[in-house]
């Protein structure tokens, strides 16, 4: 059984490469029983979405005062 620390490492690496069969199996097994790591797993997905939004200039789209954020 992998430790939480090891599982978070795999969940991080899954952002860079597809995990192999045994990695996926041990991950599934751990996540079934560990709510904290399930939360961590979904946070990885959120972190990616947030970062992509930031890199697309989203931060400043919301900082523009309302009257300038419109296109008319």
């Amino acid at each position: 059984m992998k430790s939480c620390r090891e599982v978070t490492r795999l969940l991080s690496e899954a952002q860079e490469r597809p995990l192999d069969f045994s990695e996926r199996a041990s991950l599934r097994f751990h996540l079934m029983m560990c709510g904290a790591c399930r939360n961590f797993s979904s946070h990885m997905a959120s972190l990616r979405k947030i970062s992509r939004a930031y890199a697309a200039g989203k931060r400043d789209a919301v900082e523009t005062p309302p009257d300038r954020s419109r296109d008319d």
């Binding site: 860079e16 992509r52 930031y54 890199a55 697309a56 200039g57 931060r59 419109r70």
Partner: protein
């Protein structure tokens, strides 16, 4: 969306809009290049590129996404070129960073009770909140320099692992360790300062 009303070309001739956009780009580039002048060059080139074909853009938000995409390419170029200048001493010395994993996990690798990740409340709408972005940048600023740089290469510029390894002259395992730590820290910082507070 009403962005068909005014075209991207119109937006880029509006001095006030252009200045705002330029300073946003400057901040984004400086964060990643750590160098005001290099950042300025990248922003300038991206804007010149944008002006050339701004006419084809329907509105400001499409234009902004696109201008940032150009800027990301410029930053990627600079980062790749800079690979040879990465000082060796920034690539060693992870001892200080080792200890912060001990703060999160017990010796046997379990989460410490107070460090267990909790569910995030409405992560989708955070991106629409300007206060959230301030916290995001602050958390990013608190990452150790190399963690921040590698994280930004991966998540903002979307370089692949092998490209980052080449640019930063680190091994794949070093890259994975660095990204793991960056994500652990950033996650925790965002949770403590935003996502958990609202729960």
């Amino acid at each position: 969306m009403s962005e068909h009303v005014a075209g991207g070309a119109t937006a880029l001739t509006d001095p006030e809009y252009l200045e705002g956009l330029r300073s946003q780009m400057q901040r984004f580039a400086t964060l990643q290049l750590g160098d005001q002048d290099l950042a300025e060059d990248a922003v300038q080139e991206a804007l010149v590129g944008a002006l050339k074909s701004a006419r084809s853009f329907g509105g400001r938000s499409a234009l902004k996404t696109w201008v940032f995409a150009i800027l990301k390419n410029k930053i990627a170029d600079v980062l790749r070129q800079r690979s040879r200048y990465v000082e060796a001493d920034r690539l060693v010395g992870t001892t200080g960073e080792e200890s912060d994993l001990d703060e999160l996990f017990t010796r046997r690798g379990h989460w410490r009770p107070e460090e267990r990740p909790v569910p995030w409340v409405d992560p989708e709408s955070a991106v629409d909140d300007r206060e959230f972005w301030r916290i995001f940048e602050t958390c990013l600023d608190h990452l150790p320099g190399r963690q921040a740089q590698v994280f930004m290469m991966r998540e903002f510029i979307e370089l692949e692992s092998h490209e980052i390894c080449a640019a930063a002259e680190i091994s794949v395992s070093n890259l994975n360790v660095t990204l793991h730590r960056a994500r652990l820290r950033l996650r925790e910082c965002l949770e403590n300062n935003w996502f958990a507070e609202r729960g």
